[in-house]
Each structure stands twice: as C-alpha cells, then as structure tokens.
C-alpha cells in the first residue's frame, strides 16, 4: 500500500465530500431543514457548466462560474419552494424533507426529459498532465479539485466567521427567534444560506464532472455520501463535518486499495452506523452546542 497515494486520495475525496456535507450541515442547522435536493443541485450545476462550455466559452473560469452560479440559483429555487412557504407551518421538518425529496425526483426527471439520457462531458478545466509530488503522481484534475475546494471551504468558513452575514447565519443556526430579535431577517438569510450551499454543491459538481461526466442522476451518490459525512460529523457542526469528511475519505481510500471498490459503500455505512451507535449525535455532537 502506497501511503502517498492513500493520502492524496483521502484529501481529494475529503475536499469533495466536505463541500457537500458542509452544505447539508449548514442548511440543517440554520434552517432546520434536511436538504435532500442537494444531489439535484449537484446534477443541475453540471448541466449549467456544460451549457456554458457549449454555448459561451470553453474557458475554465467561465465553466466553473457557470456551475457555481447555477448551483446558487438552484439553491435559491429549492429554498423558495421547500423553505419559504413551509417554515412557519406545522410539521415543518418532515414536510420540508419530503418537499426536497419531491424536488429531487421532479428535477431529475425534468433533466432527463430536457437533456435526454445521453451523458455529457465537461472540458478539462485544469488540462491534462501530472505533477510528481515526491513518489506520488497527481493529475492536474486532482490538484485542481483539492485547491479549488480548499479555497471555497476556507472562504466560506472565513466568511461565516467574520462577516456580518456570517454572524447572522451562525446566530440563526443557534436560535432563530433570538436572531429575529437582533434584526436578522429569516427569509433573506435563508435564501443566502441556500445560495451559498448551492454554490458549494455547484463547485463540487464541476470538479467531479470534469473528471467523470454529467448525467441527470449524477447527484444521487454524492448526495448519499454527503449525507453520510454530515451525519457522522453531527448535523449542524462545521468542524464535525470536516473531520468526518477526512475520516470517510480515508476509509473509502483504504477500503478501495485493500479490499476492493465494491466494499467502499459497505465499510462507509458500517463506519457511520458504528459512530452513531456510540455517539448518537455524531462526532461533533458533543463538542459543540448544535440546534436541537
């Protein structure tokens, strides 16, 4: 087993999973909604980026921007459908969960209908080639993915930590009524959260799709994995999500190398079941005070 390869794979996977899980986690803790349409956002963003590449420009920055923008807009759309009309209605958590599921079913079929079953490819944003880091070889793709997600993750975290909007989101994560009392508007903040997390999913989508491909249901597996990571990390905890992303990335890498690719999902789920049995609120459920 090659430790460099293992580390590189872990970091790549952790970066992508982190983007998805963080989005799910932030939405849960600030809006009290489990967004199972995050996978749909992922798929749509791929198509958004593809449309840009097809009709506007093949430039890497433009393609990434197309995906991120589509992601943000889709996030806002999901917020507009599943959050705004429901948040002050009875039984909100369950109904919004079902609404996001409905959106993802609806949206996935619409994508299939509009774009057809043939999968699409994105241009290589980072070009072809390899970098040798010591004994390990990493393609431009991988390095680009890691760097891009790391930048977006750091930007998001910094923004959450220090900006006025960020404070507002953090306040709402803790106590929505208290947030209203200091002047935080629930709806506008909710839309901001949905757009930021949508943008994260959009970026993750572009990064993954340019090594793989875009299809109407491409979001399902990333959603499941993002969910697993968010759960294992403890819904609502930023630190927990990041720790879990690294752990699960590592488990995936080491399972694939030592046992075989077909066991990846099995080990991942066994891991998360074990974590939840020991700590019902996930890794960070005990470290931080999260939304009940």
């Amino acid at each position: 087993m090659d430790p460099y390869y293992l580390a590189l794979t872990t970091v790549t996977l952790a970066a992508i999973y982190g983007l998805l899980a963080l989005g799910i986690s932030i939405i849960w803790s600030s809006l009290g909604m489990i967004n199972l349409a995050q996978g749909f956002t992922f798929a749509v963003s791929g198509y958004g980026a593809w449309l840009v590449a097809q009709y506007l420009s093949n430039n890497g920055v433009a393609v990434v921007a197309g995906g991120v923008l589509t992601g943000a807009l889709t996030g806002a759309l999901i917020g507009g459908i599943a959050f705004i009309p429901l948040y002050d209605k009875p039984n909100f958590p369950l109904r919004s969960l079902i609404a996001t599921l409905g959106i993802s079913l609806f949206g996935g079929q619409c994508l299939l209908w509009i774009f057809g079953p043939r999968v699409k490819a994105l241009p290589k944003i980072f070009g072809y080639g390899n970098i040798h880091i010591g004994p390990a070889v990493a393609s431009y793709d991988k390095i680009g993915s890691i760097v891009c997600s790391a930048i977006l993750l750091l930007l998001t975290l910094g923004w959450m930590k220090s900006s006025r909007r960020g404070l507002e989101i953090r306040a709402m994560m803790q106590n929505p009524e208290g947030a209203a009392l200091v002047g935080v508007g629930l709806r506008s903040t909710a839309m901001a959260v949905m757009m930021v997390t949508g943008a994260m999913a959009g970026l993750a989508s572009v990064l993954l799709s340019q090594t793989y491909f875009i299809s109407p249901f491409a979001g399902v597996t990333p959603l499941v994995k993002g969910m697993v990571v968010a759960l294992a990390g403890g819904l609502g905890s930023v630190a927990g999500a990041l720790i879990a992303a690294v752990l699960i990335g590592f488990i995936e890498a080491i399972t694939a190398v030592s046992l075989g690719g077909q066991y990846v999902l099995i080990t991942q789920f066994l891991f998360i079941i074990a974590i939840l049995l020991v700590r019902p609120r996930g890794i960070a459920g005990m470290i931080e005070h999260t939304r009940e």
Binding site: P117, Y128, S139, T221, A253, A256, G261
Partner: protein, 420 residues
C-alpha cells in the same frame, strides 16, 4: 417521425395521455376494424437510457424507409413506443404486459435487465419478440421452455463469447506482428453485474488454453465514483493487457481519460462494449486514441453497413453509435421480409418465417433456426459469415472507431497506441 433525437415532446406526451385514457375505451373497436388497411404495429420497448435511444433511432430510420417506399402490401408500419422501468421486476412486467395487451404485430427491444420476468409477462401473446439481450441465461431459460417461448428471439450471440473470444483475439493480434505484448498477463477490472461476471468467468476458463495468463482481478461496482484504486492496481500489476470488463460507456470513458494521463507503458487496453455508444467518444475525446474494444452486435463497414452509417449520420449529428441502432434497423427489415411473405395477422407464421430465414443485415447475418433461437457467433459458432454475426474488434484511430478484426471485415490495421 423525423425527429433527430427521440425525446418525447410536449405534443407526444399529450397524445400519450390521451391514448392512455382512450385505449381501454377504443380497444374493442380497433380489434374488430378491417385489418387490411390498418397499419402494421411494431411495439418498441425503450427506457430513458442511451442504448435504448439508439435502438429507437434505428427502428425509426428503417420504418421511415419502408413507409416511404410504399409500406408492406399497402400497409404502413407504425412504431408504438412503450416506456419501461428497467430496474424493478414489477416495472418491467408492467411494461411487457402493457405491450401484450396492446396486441402489436411484433415486439422489439434493445435489451432488458430483468429478463426472465419480462418474457414471462408476455404471457399467452405470441407475437415475435426480438431482443438484443446478449444474455446466455435468457436463451437457456427460453430453450428449456421452447413451447412457451417459441416467439422469443435473441438477435445477437450471448455474452459468453466475449470471454471465450478474447484470448483468440489477442493471439491473432500478436501473431499479426503489429503488437508485441510486454508480457502475457491479462489484468481484469471486473464490474459486479451478471453480464461482466459471466464474461470474466468465461475468459478465466479460456485463458489457460491460450498463451496468455490470468493476471490480477480488480473488482469495481457501478456507478464508479473513483477510478483511482483500479488505476493504482493496474500500475502495480504492470500487466501487458488490461481488460476493462464494464459496460457503461461514459464510465469507461472516464477510466480511459485517467489512464491515459498516467498510463502503464506498453499495456494494451481493451474496453468492453461501452464505446459502441456515442458518449464514449464524446467524453473520452482525444484520450481514447488507441483504445481497443469489441461488440458481438456491431455495425459492419461493408457496403451494406457503410450505407447504413451514412444514412444514420445524415439524421443524427455527432458521433454515432455502432450497436443497437443497426440492430433495430435489421430487426425491422427482418420483420419486413416476414410480413411481405406471410400475413402480418398470422403471428405464428411470422415467427416461423423469422426463425427459418437467415437475414443478412448491417450488423451481420442473423440465423435463428437453432435450439437457442439466438444469432450465431462468428467465428466461434460458425465460420460462415453468411450465417454468423461477427464479433467486431475496433480500435480508436484518429478519433474514429475502426474495425481491426476479424480480418475479413477489417477497415484498418492495428496501430501502436500513444503510450506504447
């Protein structure tokens, strides 16, 4: 239907809803109407996946041609499209029952996944069912119940021949001198499904009798999110032949791209089936150069095949598929021959005609008059190109698929791949 791409439009959907609502009411009148002037109905079962779209396109092309030439004895052919939920047995059966209830003159399908429940659902309705399943289990089952499944035909050889043929292909290639294997190990990257497992099983059984030997086997599972471990395994084994035993063209393209970025020097890369779908070249683009692949059901490049390719390309832009479009085209023409000679209402007669008459189409010769009622594999089942369907080996050369084996049908010689 002249749509370039078969996707349901709003109008067809509205019509579909109308038809679905009206069907139970109108059914008795349709069946008692005079059949002579009524069109011949060909039911196509197609899901919303890429291969089925190809099939639909091929069928539409053939039907348009026949109708433009005046139809069959004055009767036009109409295609009745039926959607199917391929992944659940209930959904598959629902589609097949629906088709049987609509009582078409013949039924065509690219392939299903839950095959035995599917043919079971056709029940007592014995219109000829022509399918390109490439599946040995299906034809074994239908053979054991020949009476019940007399109308089930598989228009291509089963998948077992992929495995049995592969060592022969390598030996021929090596004997030709164009390719010098760096070693004789065959590294199999195997998807878990039945199709790929069967191919690998047959290959493993056949390898000892050839000069090649079995290398490591790496397991993968659809959908593949990360090719890293497989590529890592390939790097470590350093085998001279890498067989990607998978089926989804798009994923195989992703593999190829990542392999080419950091290849095993001199290793021959063989990719199972997927490149017959347009998405493979669309996605892999330049990276696919030099990749070898094969299909037991592929469009030839002889006069007949080339003409089909030309006609098809005129209707569908971009890279064209080389498998089910041709198969559907052949299926419709095969039925046309039958309907021209036997009354279309005589379902058994049509089925008998299809069984007893060898049809030479763009995908090769289909002869179904055998115990399995499945097309014969060339060269393993028959050495006669007019009886068997040749397994075509392609190599991607200059961004296009070129047949390199069997030699009689080859368009081009094997070339050194860029990472040699």
């Amino acid at each position: 239907m002249t749509d370039r791409n078969w996707t349901p439009t709003r109008r067809t959907v509205v019509k579909g809803i109308g038809a679905a609502l009206a069907a139970p009411l109108a059914a008795p009148y349709i069946s008692t109407a005079r059949a002579d002037a009524a069109p011949i109905r060909f039911a196509v079962i197609a899901a919303q996946i890429a291969d089925h779209t190809d099939y639909m396109n091929g069928a539409v092309l053939a039907v348009d041609e026949i109708n433009a030439a005046g139809g069959i004895k004055g009767r036009k052919i109409v295609i009745e499209a039926h959607d199917i939920d391929l992944f659940t047995p209930e959904g598959t059966q629902a589609a097949f029952r629906k088709v049987a209830d609509s009582k078409p003159h013949a039924i065509g399908c690219a392939f299903t996944l839950i095959r035995i429940p599917a043919v079971e659902a056709l029940g007592d309705y014995k219109a000829p069912y022509l399918v390109g399943d490439t599946n040995f289990d299906l034809i074994t089952e239908t053979k054991s119940k020949r009476e019940k499944y007399s109308h089930v035909f598989q228009v291509d050889p089963p998948e077992i021949y992929y495995g049995r043929m592969f060592p022969k292909f390598l030996e021929t290639l090596a004997a030709g001198g164009e390719w010098k294997p760096i070693n004789n190990k065959v590294h199999i990257i195997r998807e878990q499904g039945n199709y790929n497992a069967t191919i690998a099983r047959e290959l493993i059984a056949t390898l000892p009798s050839s000069k090649f030997e079995l290398g490591p086997i790496t397991e993968i599972q659809y959908p593949v999110q990360d090719w890293g471990p497989a590529l890592q395994a390939v790097k470590q084994s350093g085998a001279g032949v890498i067989m990607l035993d998978h089926w989804a063209g798009a994923e195989e393209a992703a593999f190829v791209q990542q392999f080419v970025a950091d290849p095993v020097k001199g290793a021959l890369v063989y990719v199972q089936y997927g490149p017959s779908q347009p998405e493979f070249l669309n996605i892999a683009a330049g990276a696919a150069e030099g990749i070898v692949w094969s299909t037991v059901l592929g469009v030839y490049d002889d006069a007949q095949g080339a003409e089909f390719r030309k006609k098809y390309a005129a209707k569908h832009s971009g890279v064209i598929g080389l498998c089910y479009n041709g198969s559907a085209y052949d299926t419709v023409n095969m039925l046309k021959n039958a309907w021209s000679n036997v009354d279309a209402e005589d379902l058994k007669g049509v089925a008998d005609y299809v069984r007893t008459h060898v049809y030479r189409g763009v995908d090769g010769a289909v002869s179904l008059d055998n115990e399995y009622q499945a097309a014969l594999h060339y060269p393993l089942q028959t050495e006669d190109l007019n009886k068997g369907m040749a397994q075509l080996y392609f190599q991607v050369q200059d961004g296009a698929h070129k047949i390199i084996q069997p030699t009689v049908l080859a368009e081009s010689k094997f070339r050194k791949f860029p990472w040699a």
